[in-house]
Symmetry: C2
Subunit: 233 residues, 2 copies
DNA sequence: TGACTGTAATTGGTTAACCAGATTTAGTAT
DNA sequence: ATACTAAATCTGGTTAACCAATTACAGTCA
């Protein structure tokens, strides 16, 4: 499941159609939080689609916290009123596939914050893990090898050290997509990697010394190149 | 599907076990990006679980961009090396359920950024949608009614106006969970709602006038109470 | 030897039957 | 009428058979 859950457009279309019909049904029947939806079988018959299709649509709405399925009982409207429900479903239906620029922009936002938080909250174990990742990165770069994986792990170690599980999850979600795009557009050059050693070390030092503002600053410098690239794409 | 996809602990445990076994298998066979995994049937037999279990585990790894299933062909290791694969799977296995504090912290981070970006990029249509949401919010509050839904929609309208689809998605993901927790802990008081009108209006004005720094500032003021609450929990 | 071809096995995805538990309903005794 | 019970029904979830497309391979012909 990608960020947008479905991959193939055809499947996505029929799923969005079902979601819209579920929304219409909730509106028509004036269902409120806690109310029960018709059974999956009834919905599949009513909408003229398979039960699998209905299940997937329900699961997507469950992912966004709008519905709640309870085994052997039914599917219920979550603790969200009909107004918010309509607004959120509209947003969900119009969600576009995340573009590279928005991914990078979001990554930078998260990285600056996690660096700062890591400087405030990192445990000794966090620090040890970060140092491991940093050393692995250095070794690869100094040997002239590709170190994109070690680079990634260093940043994920910071995210974990931030002590914020939500940001950690978000970093995990966007990181692979970033990597893929990096390789597609050949963003990472080798000369960037060498200066990367110093930059990583600076970030590490700031977090080690528990200097949040400095950590953020060093992270910002680290992303300077990326920033420019992102806005020139 | 919640942020952590699975809900019941038992199911989550068996799924994580399978994920760990898939990781071990990738390591043992030295599978590299593009290599094919054994078929779902073989894995289910090898691991002594059902094919459904294997499918769910694969889908979770696909969600995080580590595997890629191709119909009638097989499941393949994504464009990520074995080192990053191991690191990410370790993180995924240890991902904890997002706590309220981390949700609020992340929301504030996203809201400050989207407010700023919205001031830079909002279209006239974005502005119209925001005004709609703002008016609905005002009316409810002035009538003494609960306006948590309209409050939510105003913030989501800003997220959309930010022009960043990734942040928009993230806002959609965390918003319902925040709402649920708000109601559980009774965060929102009525007196907060009335001052909320002015604060919302200030944010709207700043975005309308395309003043990014001011928009961020007004959003920060809006979250001041929340901030304090978050750190006193 | 090598390119080609048709068939059989294998693949992830889909569907329909099945399951256990919750819910409703009908019946009965009070 | 009411409280209670038991059977029938309905629920989301699970499983095993099925599907179409891909792949591997044996056989054939040049």
């Amino acid at each position: 499941m990608k960020l947008d859950i479905v991959t193939r457009t055809e499947t996505a279309d029929v799923q969005n159609t079902i979601i819209a019909k579920i929304r219409d049904l909730i509106n028509a029947k004036n269902l409120e939080p806690g109310d029960k939806l018709p059974s999956e079988r009834m919905l599949s018959e009513k909408f003229g689609v398979t039960r699998s299709n209905v299940r997937e649509a329900i699961q997507k709405l469950e992912f966004y916290g709008l519905l709640k399925s309870i085994p052997q009982s039914g599917t219920f409207v979550a603790n969200i009123g009909v107004i918010a429900m309509n607004g959120m479903i509209e947003d969900i239906l119009r969600l576009e596939e995340p573009d590279f620029k928005s991914l990078v922009e979001t990554r930078i936002l998260l990285e600056l914050k996690t660096a700062r938080l890591a400087a405030l909250r990192r445990t000794d174990e966090d620090l040890y893990k970060m140092k491991e990742a940093l050393d692995a990165f250095k070794e690869k770069v100094l040997n002239g090898e590709d170190a994109v994986q070690e680079d990634l792990l260093f940043h994920l170690a910071i995210a974990k050290a931030s002590g914020n599980s939500t940001m950690n999850t978000f970093m995990l979600i966007i990181t692979p997509e970033i990597i893929t795009n990096f390789e597609k557009y050949h963003v990472c050059d080798k000369d960037l990697a060498e200066s990367g050693i110093i930059e990583h070390q600076n970030i590490f030092n700031a977090i080690r010394d528990q200097k949040p503002q400095l950590a953020k600053q060093k992270m910002k410098e680290h992303f300077k190149m990326l920033y420019q690239y992102c806005y020139n794409i």
